[in-house]
Subunit: 376 residues, 2 copies
């Protein structure tokens, strides 16, 4: 049911097709995040129109609200949110560690209080799988523990727990129409990442996730960890770099053999009026855009760029109109999805390495200039 | 340029076509309100998809933000908000009287402070026309004064000023591609409404608006005023009942010869989680909808009803997801636009009067039950 076919290769980068019960995923792919069973401010029709193929939703959030049993009773997540295409859920682990108000970790699981109402809950590997089976995404995740990446001792402990929990998850899994990915942990510790990649690869899951990155480490550390992990992973399985990232991260990830990405960045930036543009991230609230008749990005094919001026977007922001968030989300998501399309074409042509430095320059300049404009 | 052709008549109700520079309006018509150059939470593509043909925008708001000169510099309102279909602007009068923080009325105009920043501004009839010419809507309004409808003395004074201002507006008007409507005032005073209708009709504007209703008077009073005004208005000009209204008001308005309506109700209700449904206005936040697999209205052809369950809409509301407002706005607007389509068909078939009591019963039951469910 879950077949991964590599269609082109260039050094460590590759393009492929991952077959799921809700359609084929062309990789490398960027997945918009629909935390609470909705990509914020967008209808599924709009998400589809901008070229998205995979949407991620969060187990922790949906377990709390509306409840995974409610979603199951309504026919599962695809049907509930009317996204009949591939979906992925995380295990809830990361959110429990980062969002829940208090949490106590033991060898069997995590007890935590809801960030919504302070009520007590407990996640175990079995429970996470049961919830994800209720939700019914095509790709589901083993329950894992994220550590402080710089703390070798804790990272080792968390990694070992993650490995035991991955085995428990595999045993607990009952549905045949969901691909359970194991997760490589180990912080920014090269020795642990190597152990973890080897162990998770040995579990023979239909895909492998790399967790615990993009949590505050440096870009160099992230690249180093990907360089350690990649050679130890089987070639014929999709690799998912969780919660990553910026355009620069996507380029660097694909260069290091990553196939799947997700990140809240495009929609979060949109809510803060920030749009990806050729000259850097634009804070569209800026008064300089008040009479700017250009689209956000003249080269972009999204509804927002094909239709509206920067001046109109700025007006919506200043007038506190929610449509601003919708329109900028459409553009920012399309920008990353289009970047992946461009990367796939380069890989197919065997020109990705040669073009990657130009792409990286464009997008890191982009990030650098954005910092200036956000300070101004 | 502005031709009104009556295509069917039944008693006082009629269907027609009003030709504007941005396309034909099939009447009777309900116009969604796009106060700040956006129908709240919807893209123009979504507004078009739900069958809207005319959008209203507010002169007061756009004058303050982004400024009518900015809109003019960007090619006018149609181009600014990318709504290339018929548009209507009000004169700013009603907003100045109801929104501005302080206001001083004299015979030449109104001095007021912005509700945004308290800055001082002055509207005169000439200024209102100049602003509306900068905005560039197809249908524009004479600057008028709304009175306390029960105060005969003040209503007379305001009406007389409205009449003088209407003449000034007509003289001030320069653009040939905008239809300036005069506005009938007179509160709930039958004698004043008769005087005002006769006077405004004598100005021979391409259409006539009826202002100062739906401002707190009873339904009976509104109907009585429409009954007074209608026989005094020329048959061959479209009649616009400003700021009205509820589904019941639309039915009662068409029965009394009204052709154009606008109201914020559908989008405002949506922001308060309230949806028009066959069994009454639904407060979709209600826990009874948590597992309700039905659409808001099984008979509705809108994107929301064709796609989503009440359970999903409730989840979005509870999870504070903005998509809830978008989806309910789509349905509520479609419900009123569809009601107008139904009414037009009845008029064409000569069965509107015969069906109007059923329609009224449905929609007043609707309103009554909504009050109960909002209390519960």
């Amino acid at each position: 049911m879950f077949k991964f076919t590599i269609t082109a290769k260039e050094a460590r980068a590759r393009t492929g097709v991952f077959t799921t019960p809700h359609g084929d995923l062309i990789t490398p792919v960027f997945a918009p995040v629909g935390t609470q069973a909705t990509v914020k401010t967008l209808t599924p029709a709009q998400v589809k129109e901008l070229g998205a193929t995979l949407v991620l939703s969060n187990t922790y959030h949906l377990y709390l609200r509306p409840g995974d049993d409610v979603v199951a009773g309504l026919g599962g997540l695809h049907r509930f949110m009317r996204w009949p295409y591939p979906m992925l859920t995380d295990s809830g682990g990361f959110q429990v560690f980062s969002l829940a108000q208090t949490r106590q970790i033991d060898d069997e699981g995590v007890t935590f209080k809801s960030h919504i109402d302070g009520s007590s809950h407990r996640f175990t590997p079995q429970r996470s799988i049961r919830i994800q089976e209720n939700l019914g995404a095509d790709i589901i995740m083993a329950f894992d523990e994220c550590s402080d990446p710089n703390d070798h001792q804790y990272s080792k402990l968390a990694m070992e727990r993650t490995h035991r929990w991955a085995e428990i998850c595999l045993k607990a899994k009952r549905r045949g129409d969901q691909a359970l990915f194991g997760i490589v942990q180990g912080g920014v510790q090269a020795d642990l990442r190597a152990i973890s990649a080897t162990f998770i690869a040995s579990l023979d899951t239909p895909g492998i996730a790399i967790g615990g990155l993009s949590v505050g480490e440096t870009k160099q550390e992230m690249h180093d960890m990907l360089d350690v992990v990649q050679p130890l992973l089987p070639e014929n399985k999709p690799r998912y770099l969780m919660g990553v990232g910026t355009p620069e991260d996507l380029i660097n990830g694909v260069l290091r053999g990553i196939d799947i990405f997700d990140c809240v960045l495009p929609t979060r930036l949109a809510r803060h009026h920030s749009a990806f543009a050729p000259e850097g991230r634009l804070n569209l609230m800026n008064a300089t855009f008040a009479r700017d008749e250009r689209p956000v990005d003249e080269t972009c094919d999204c509804y927002t760029c094909k239709t509206f001026t920067r001046a109109y977007l700025r007006h919506l922001i200043v007038a506190k109109e929610l449509l601003a968030g919708t329109l900028i989300s459409i553009h920012n998501l399309r920008a990353l999805i289009r970047l992946m399309e461009v990367i796939r074409t380069y890989i197919a042509d065997g020109t990705f390495e040669e073009n990657s430095s130009l792409l990286l320059q464009k997008w890191s300049d982009n990030a650098k200039r954005s910092i200036q404009s956000e300070v101004n």
